[in-house]
């Protein structure tokens, strides 16, 4: 159905030109949360970006504008607001398509997040095509979402979960990967960038090997989309998942990219409105992709907000983002290693902006609590990656994770707070 151009929601081109050279000061001005103070007058050093990113003002404004001016359900109404909402929602799908360099909007399914996207693939694809004895290959550094969703389908289908180990730097044992990959392997589901260790996996090699063995490749991109330009076609991933809230977008919205022929071959996962073609008690037929997988009213505002976040990232430019983050990671690593007793978990050759560490035998919860009092936000715990923690014989770490709006000042305050915590606890 053609939808009229509405200047209010269509004021900007879908893909906006870059803003010129990367400038961290200008970027920081776009994130209102960075001006927060905590525990009295302590300025915030937000280093919990692997958990969720902060939101630029334009994303917050987009959500506000949608609810203020265009609030309506999608794909249902003939009235103006419904058409505006539908237009904005579907245009956001187009932005995701461009971000991932997918071939078609039909390959972009909106979900609640990366976790739901993985569960959708496991339940719908895995539930349909896995047979007893088939193997699913994951790695030791997976997020629980990429372990448990397969364990659930393993029980239902009789398929077997195999695990590729990593070495002590947090790099995937590629020799073991190739050894474990065999004719029984039907699905290879591997994380692109580890949330707990920062390792960047050789995803091109993994996908190519999976295909050569006759398996499909699922890539968990929850930690990679915020930091690097993704090209699902160059990567040749069969499925690729990510969460909106980690890429400057709202919580509760995520994406499943799937190759068209695979999505078309899969049965719906959840039933409800929007996903049907014709409903009758003697049989229901289903809508086409991607709507077949989007039962019920979707997170409309979330998708539109994610579209605004993608515009912002595109405007900022991934080249500048990657360069800035690499410099910042090198600086933060150097400063952290100056702290006596600090040990970094995850020292792979190719690493993204994640510093998982402990200091001597001090408990990460104690370190995190004291750093919080100094305005430094880190994550402590197992990072939903207990097998990765177990590899190192630990149950938890403290994790500082970077985004392109962090600067050296954030790192300096982090190190000062950490030194203070160590002094207090020793």
């Amino acid at each position: 159905m053609p939808i009229a151009h509405d200047p209010r929601i269509d004021g900007k081109p879908a893909t906006e030109p870059a803003r010129g050279p990367f400038d961290v000061e200008r970027v920081r001005a776009d994130f209102p949360t960075l001006r927060e103070t905590v525990h009295g007058d302590k300025p915030l050093a937000y280093l919990d970006n692997a958990a969720t990113s902060l939101k630029p003002q334009c994303v917050i404004d987009t959500l506000n504008d949608f609810y203020t001016h265009d609030n309506s359900n999608v794909h249902r109404g003939v009235h103006t607001l419904s058409q505006r909402a539908t237009f904005a929602f579907e245009r956001a799908r187009g932005k995701v398509k461009n971000l991932l360099n997918a071939e078609s909007e039909k390959e972009i399914v909106f979900t609640r997040g990366a976790t739901e996207a993985l569960n959708l693939v496991a339940q719908s694809y895995g539930g349909t095509f896995l047979k007893p004895g088939d193997e699913i290959l994951v790695s030791e550094m997976e997020h629980h979402a990429n372990i448990v969703s397969w364990q659930l389908i393993q029980e239902r289908t009789g398929a077997v979960l195999r695990v590729v180990p990593m070495d002590d730097t947090g790099e995937l044992r590629m020799d073991e990967f190739h050894r474990l990959l065999g004719e029984r392997t039907k699905i290879v589901s591997i994380v692109h960038i580890s949330n707990a260790l920062g390792t960047v996996n050789p995803i091109g090699e993994i996908v190519a090997a999976a295909h050569a063995a006759g398996a499909i490749a699922v890539v968990d991109g929850a930690q990679s989309v915020p930091h690097a330009r993704i090209d699902v076609r160059a990567m040749d991933a069969d499925f690729f998942v990510f969460s909106g809230h980690k890429v400057l977008g709202p919580t509760g919205i995520g994406v499943l990219y799937g190759k068209r022929e695979l999505l078309e071959s899969m049965p719906p996962w959840q039933g409800g409105g929007d996903m049907i073609d014709r409903v009758a008690f003697d049989g229901t037929t289903f809508n086409v992709i991607p709507h077949k997988f989007e039962a019920g009213t979707p997170h409309i505002a979330g998708a539109i907000g994610l579209g605004a976040a993608i515009d912002y990232l595109t405007r900022t430019g991934f080249d500048g983002i990657e360069e800035h983050e690499a410099k910042l990671l090198a600086y933060a690593t150097e400063r952290l290693l100056e702290v006596e007793g600090a040990r970094i978990f995850g020292t792979a050759g190719k690493k993204a902006g994640v510093l998982s560490f402990n200091v001597g035998d001090l408990h990460p919860h104690d370190l995190g609590s004291i750093m919080d009092m100094e305005g430094v936000a880190t994550r402590v715990g197992h990072h939903c990656a207990q097998p990765a923690m177990r590899h190192f014989g630990i149950s938890a770490t403290c994790r500082a994770s970077l985004a392109f709006y962090n600067d050296e000042g954030d790192i300096d305050r982090f190190i000062a707070a950490l030194n203070k915590a160590v002094r207090m606890l020793k």
Partner: protein
């Protein structure tokens, strides 16, 4: 036990009132944690683990002469400090005292607002577990006496 449960709470609040800022309060909490006695390894089991804590907490209750004696510890130092405070208030009290005494000192020290949400939840879990044990021991005592009476008549 010479100090009453109310006196113990009051003393903690007065003790912390000496400190001007969070840093000194945290330092004091850490000191309490460092000097808090560890518990026997046989109590560091799944059965005595308090759920809902981000760090590992073990809490062992024992009924001695009508009073509940708690032994507890954690692998995190700040939590050990909190445990030391909780035990000062609640350990060695009668089940009835424990069940009927809210942890006023927690609010008065502003502990909840100065702890992360996770840790505040953990503190709430510990208090809940302490109270659950007290209620259980209280019921055990009642049913024990009840049975005794029946047998006697």
């Amino acid at each position: 036990m010479t100090q009453t449960i109310a006196e113990a709470q009051k003393e903690i609040v007065e003790e912390f009132a000496f400190f001007d800022d969070w840093e000194q309060r945290f330092e004091h909490l850490i000191d309490l944690g460092k000097s808090h006695l560890d518990i026997p390894d046989e109590y560091k089991t799944e059965a005595y683990r308090v759920r809902g804590c981000q760090s590992t907490v073990w809490l062992h209750p024992e009924l001695k002469d009508g009073r509940v004696v708690f032994q507890a510890t954690s692998d995190a130092m700040i939590v050990r400090g909190l445990i030391a405070l909780l035990l000062k208030v609640y350990s060695g009290r009668t089940p009835e005292e424990i069940a009927s005494t809210p942890p006023k000192f927690v609010d008065e020290l502003g502990l909840n607002e100065h702890l992360t949400q996770g840790r505040a939840n953990g503190l709430a879990s510990m208090i809940e577990q302490i109270k659950l044990y007290a209620v259980a021991f209280g019921q055990l005592e009642k049913s024990h006496f009840g049975n005794g009476k029946e047998q006697g008549t």
